[in-house]
């Protein structure tokens, strides 16, 4: 998952083993030195030991420093790889994989979950390997003097190095997997409070939101507590096993010394070496807990990646009947009649089999809906090509936005086909649809960067000149003049510095700059005052003479520039009317 470099890991383990090996060596040689000294030999006999003790005293600190640096470097490189991969997969994946996530979840997945996976190297992989090397070395050292005592040490090390991490793992797995959910809950509650602070404060719901947070925190705390318990026991077990090895060495060594099978100097070595030998294994319970924690994070990340990469499950045929109320369509049609005059649908060329124009979008018998939900639009025929302006009118909540996502090739049709530049939208490689058609959703994102960079979202090489022209076209000339740093002015998080109307205009300017010949706009006049909205819609439709434009709106004014007006009714029926000719709206509805 992290694509870590094995060579770098081996180097880290080497430094780590040398560092802890120095500590064990220091204990063993010091014990030998003191015991031998008490026998009052010639000072020269001790010189090698004296030099060794000093050298080990230095090497430990140095090696440890090198180990920590190289371990962290390996881990961080892995984190960079993984983070990029998570982003790239989400970017290439289905839009609904991201849309279905809470904001706090996304942050947790790309942030702390990726970090948690990286921590495996620092806190689990390298310490475990070092513990194996150092423990083996310590047992071999003691075995050179007393095999029996070495056996006790080996057993003690095995308990410390195997049993306690396993104890920690088993209990931690249960709690930690739940903890990641609880953490995400805490993160999500946190984001609710931050995002909605003003509204929650005024409506007095802040206390209840904080209460939700507290409940999430309490759940998290209980789970963390549960997870910490085995880790604490393992910590105690570490001290106990050290005691076992030391007391064991004394019980075996003292009779052996008395019997003369073990030199007194060697007794000191086999008793004092274990005091240092457990440092490596004492890190293992924490390593095991980390492994579980990271494992949970890894599963969550893989789950998200799978979801983003998986094929769409089409809604079952049984769901198709549910769209919405009957009768609403006629009411809308009636409202249309007041401002525009419909004609027979047959005059509008929206049938299947329409001659293909390059750079067109042709929908035939299209039913669309959010994956896994009942379709919101059924049986739609529509042609959008350069030079043509189409308006889709319908009441709110009727599925206009879903229709646009489908036409833009971002979600697959439930039934029927969408041909984008002659290719079925399902067969188009990811991102290719955007060469023909771009979508500006109603809640399209404004990035926390400069005005210019926000326009460059549409096309990377937008020049400042083009940007100014587009802003003027979208009616933002005056705003641009008022900006302290012009195009370089930063817009702040989610464009809070802009008013709702300014935001819509900026999004329009962005859509105008996209290289695709066709553009889909979702409610471009929303949050604009009526006059400006009408003027804007007229402008948008006029631009459609040069490119192709499809506008979704629920307002019925200013449609005279449209070549075709489609009315979506509540029964997921579609009516077609022209803004110019005159018939009653009711008769134009086609089911």
């Amino acid at each position: 998952m992290l694509d870590v470099d094995a060579r770098r890991v081996v180097i880290s383990v080497l430094w780590g083993s040398l560092a802890l090996g120095s500590a064990v060596g220091l204990a063993a040689v010091s014990a030998w030195l003191i015991a031998r000294a008490s026998q009052m030999p010639a000072v020269l006999d001790l010189s090698v030991a004296v030099v060794t003790v000093r050298a080990l005293g230095i090497s430990r600190g140095v090696m440890r420093y090198l180990e920590r640096l190289s371990t962290h470097d390996v881990a961080l490189r892995g984190v960079v790889n993984l983070r990029e991969r998570v982003y790239a997969t989400l970017a290439d994946g289905r839009p609904d994989a991201v849309a279905g996530l809470r904001r706090g979840d996304v942050l947790a997945r790309v942030g702390s979950d990726v970090d948690a996976v990286g921590d495996v190297v620092v806190r689990a992989l390298v310490p475990a390997l070092v513990a194996i090397v150092v423990s083996t070395g310590s047992v071999l050292l003691v075995a050179a003097f007393s095999p029996a005592s070495a056996a006790v040490l080996a057993v003690a090390l095995a308990i410390a190095g195997l049993a306690s991490p396993q104890l920690a793992t088993r209990a931690a797995r249960r709690a930690e997997l739940g903890t990641i959910d609880a953490r995400a809950d805490v993160a999500a509650s946190t984001m609710t409070i931050l995002d909605g602070a003003a509204e929650l404060t005024v409506s007095g719901r802040l206390a209840s939101a904080v209460e939700t947070l507290r409940r999430a925190e309490a759940r998290l705390a209980a789970m963390l507590d549960d997870a910490a318990r085995p880790a604490a026991w393992a910590q105690g077990l570490g001290t106990l096993t050290t005691g076992l090895a030391v007391v064991g060495a004394l019980l075996i060594g003292i009779p052996a010394t008395t019997a003369g099978t073990l030199a007194p100097v060697e007794l000191a070595v086999i008793v004092l070496t274990p005091l240092a030998a457990f440092e490596a294994t004492n890190a293992l319970p924490a390593a095991a807990v980390q492994l579980v924690r990271s494992g949970g994070a890894a599963v969550r990340i893989m789950d998200l990646l799978d979801r983003a990469g998986s094929a769409v499950v089409p809604a079952s045929a049984a769901d198709v009947g549910h769209a919405a109320d009957v009768g609403h369509a006629a009411e809308v049609g009636h409202a249309v009649g007041e401002e525009t005059e419909p004609v027979e649908p047959s005059g509008c060329g929206t049938r299947a089999g329409h001659a293909l124009v390059p750079g067109s979008v042709v929908a035939t018998g299209l039913s669309c809906g959010w994956p896994g939900r009942p379709p919101v639009v059924e049986g739609l025929d529509l042609v959008l090509e350069p030079g043509r302006a189409v308006v889709v009118v319908g009441p709110s909540g009727i599925g206009k936005s879903t229709l646009l996502l489908t036409l833009a090739g971002l979600i697959p049709p439930v039934a029927g086909t969408v041909l984008i530049d002659g290719v079925d939208s399902g067969d188009l490689p990811h991102g290719d649809a955007a060469r023909t058609v771009t979508l500006t959703a109603e809640d399209a994102h404004v990035f926390d960067t400069s005005v210019l960079e926000n326009l460059r979202v549409a096309r990377g090489d937008v020049t400042p000149h083009e940007a100014r022209a587009a802003l003027r076209q979208a009616g933002l000339g005056d705003l641009l003049a008022g900006l302290p740093e012009g195009l370089e002015t930063r817009l702040g998080a989610d464009a809070t510095a802009l008013s709702g109307g300014e935001r819509r205009r900026l999004l329009l300017a962005r859509a105008l700059l996209a290289p695709a010949p066709l553009m889909l706009l979702d409610e471009p006049g929303e949050h604009l005052d009526t006059d400006t909205a009408d003027a804007l819609l007229r402008d948008v439709l006029a631009v459609g003479r040069d490119r192709g434009v499809l506008v979704v709106t629920h307002r019925l004014a200013a449609l005279e520039g449209a070549d075709e007006v489609l009315v979506l009714g509540d029964e997921a029926t579609v009516g077609t009317l022209s803004p110019r000719a005159g018939r009653s709206a009711g008769s134009t509805l086609v089911s």
Binding site: L56, G61, V79, G111, A268, A324, P484, H527, R538, D539
Partner: protein, 556 residues
């Protein structure tokens, strides 16, 4: 430089105080075990090495050595348990304080600091956990165990004690020197992390938009650059941060080595007996162990302290003063020459706004996009303090400036439906009613008036359908109908609606307009931010909002 134990932590987080106290007690007990254990082990081992004793002679010492190991293990277990529990509590306490304080700081502060605060409260603040679990206990051990062991060592062998004691003052000096650099680096790192967090979040939030333009792939490189930048900064920090740990460890291990060599040489000359020598040899590393551990966890401390600093920076940001007056009955709200600066854009929106809102009437705030209608509403709601002029509240007893009125009391009088209402995770019913008790008929009437009833009918479990954070599964229009229903059911005297019909079709709009008029007829003062002529038509009064910029040209 920040202190290793920020006193503000103890003041602000109750759990932190209990924790420090109890851990100090555990530390003292551990110290006693360590000292006694070392001396007894030396007494058991020494006579055997010199050939003066058999196993039977040292059985008592052996029993005690074993017993002390058991006690130490128990103390360690209890300490670890307690540390985790307290750390989690401290983090939770501080997170809640930061969030409630951030909410009190208002929309202007949040628009500037919101993303950073999000990173801090979801990630940065967790750095306090290792700080409490790992670093703080070692710090306390250093304060208790090290001096105690040194005193015992001095009683046994002055020279060895002096060797260790000589090293110890060097350690804080190095720690201080290197700590200076680390502090700066760690603060930088947190900043980089926050920047990375904000930018990544921004990229992810805009992923849908980027996909719509077929440009979602490009930023992958940007993500890599951001992560690489973070890695490099982190490695630079670590090189310095680990350096302090390395120096500590070097000095500590070296001084143990010096003690071993010194004791060895004095044993050769018979200046010392073996039992004392062994006791000193066992104690020397114990005295230095906590210091080394402090070094090992120094970066945990630096991250923790930097996170704590970020927390306290927010908590110490002063909140706009709230008044203490309360209002019984509101007979009108007035903007008296209200101007609010539009961010850093050098003009006012709204500029010199004047107008009165009266009970029983529907008042529109009208004006071109960007003129400051929403800001004017926020000033009325007491969320934004006007830079010039004032919001005045009319009561039967006279006119009060809003800034003299207790905010909470004011908020009980107003109800607000913003453009992008918050949906809390929970059922539709919970979101509409909150803690309020409303009979089914009233609820059904309100829902029918806003068109929420149709939305509810289309949902799998009706009113009990779970809706997620940010209203996943609800369109913007549906979300607004929900919020509108909530606003209608709120008994507040003043109802502020930000473009209540923005996402509605003509038929639904008529329903809502009738509902707004009806709400005013019940005596509410209704304020609507209005664009549509149909909405303006039902308003009794229209207040024109202007910015200090020239009006935006209409049409082309």
């Amino acid at each position: 430089m920040s202190k290793p134990l920020d006193p503000r932590l103890l003041r602000r987080a109750r759990s932190a105080r209990t924790y420090v106290l109890l851990t100090s007690l555990l530390t003292a007990a551990t110290t006693a075990c360590v000292v006694a254990g070392a001396i007894l082990l030396a007494r058991a081992l020494g006579p055997v090495v010199t050939g003066d004793a058999h196993l039977a002679d040292v059985v008592t010492e052996l029993r005690w050595v074993a017993a002390l190991f058991v006690v130490r293990a128990a103390l360690g277990t209890v300490g670890e348990r307690f540390a985790h529990r307290s750390a989690v509590r401290v983090v939770a306490e501080l997170r809640e304080q930061v969030l409630t304080h951030a909410a009190r700081l208002g929309p202007r502060w949040l628009s500037e600091h919101g993303a950073d605060t999000a990173t801090l409260t979801t990630r940065g603040i967790d750095a306090l956990e290792p700080y409490f679990v790992r670093y703080l206990p070692q710090l306390l051990l250093t304060a208790v165990l090290t001096p105690a062991v040194l005193v015992v060592m001095a009683g046994l062998d002055l020279v060895a004690a002096a060797t260790v004691a000589f090293t110890i003052p060097l350690i804080p000096v190095f720690m201080w020197l290197i700590g200076l650099a680390t502090q700066r680096f760690a603060a930088d790192r947190l900043q980089v992390q926050q920047r990375l967090g904000s930018q990544l979040l921004d990229l992810l939030a805009g992923l849908g938009t980027l996909q719509a333009f077929g440009r979602a792939r490009g930023p992958a490189r940007r993500v890599r650059e951001l992560s690489e930048a973070s890695r490099r900064t982190t490695m630079q920090t670590l090189k310095v941060a680990f350096l302090s740990g390395a120096v500590l460890e070097l000095l500590a291990t070296l001084s143990v080595a010096m003690v071993a060599v010194g004791v060895g040489l004095r044993l050769v000359y018979g200046e010392l007996d073996l039992v004392t020598g062994l006791a000193v040899l066992i104690l020397a590393p114990e005295a230095l162990l906590p210091l080394r551990q402090v070094g090992v966890h120094f970066h945990a401390s630096a991250d923790g302290v930097a996170a704590a600093d970020a927390v306290f920076e927010i908590l110490q940001t002063p909140v706009a003063r709230t008044g203490h007056m309360t209002v019984g009955r509101v007979s009108g709200v007035e903007w008296a020459g209200v101007s609010v600066r539009a961010g850093d854009r050098g003009y006012d929106a709204p500029a010199d706004l004047a107008g009165v809102v009266r009970p029983g009437r529907v008042t529109a705030l009208a004006g071109p996009s960007g003129s400051g209608k929403t800001t004017a509403a926020m000033a009325l709601l007491g969320l934004i303090e006007p830079d010039e002029g004032a919001v005045l509240v009319h009561t039967p007893d006279g006119v009060l400036p809003l800034r003299e009125i207790d905010r909470a009391a004011w908020w009980a009088q107003v109800s607000w439906v913003p453009q992008r209402p918050v949906i809390e995770p929970g059922t539709v019913r919970e979101n509409v009613l909150g803690a309020r008790r409303v009979d089914g008929e009233t609820l059904a009437r309100a829902a029918a008036a806003t068109g929420l009833d149709a939305v509810v009918r289309s949902m799998p479990s009706g009113w009990d359908t779970l809706i997620g954070q940010g209203g996943v599964g609800l369109s913007v229009g549906q979300r607004q109908r929900l919020a509108l229903t909530r606003g209608l059911l709120d008994p507040a005297a003043v109802l502020v609606l930000d473009e209540p019909t923005a996402h509605l079709d003509a038929v639904s709009e008529e329903h809502v307009l009738a509902t707004i008029t009806a709400a005013a007829a019940t005596g509410k003062a209704v304020v609507v931010i209005a664009h549509r002529p149909s909405l303006l038509a039902v308003c009794d009064d229209v207040i024109q909002v202007r910015s200090s910029l020239a009006p935006v040209a209409v049409g082309s």
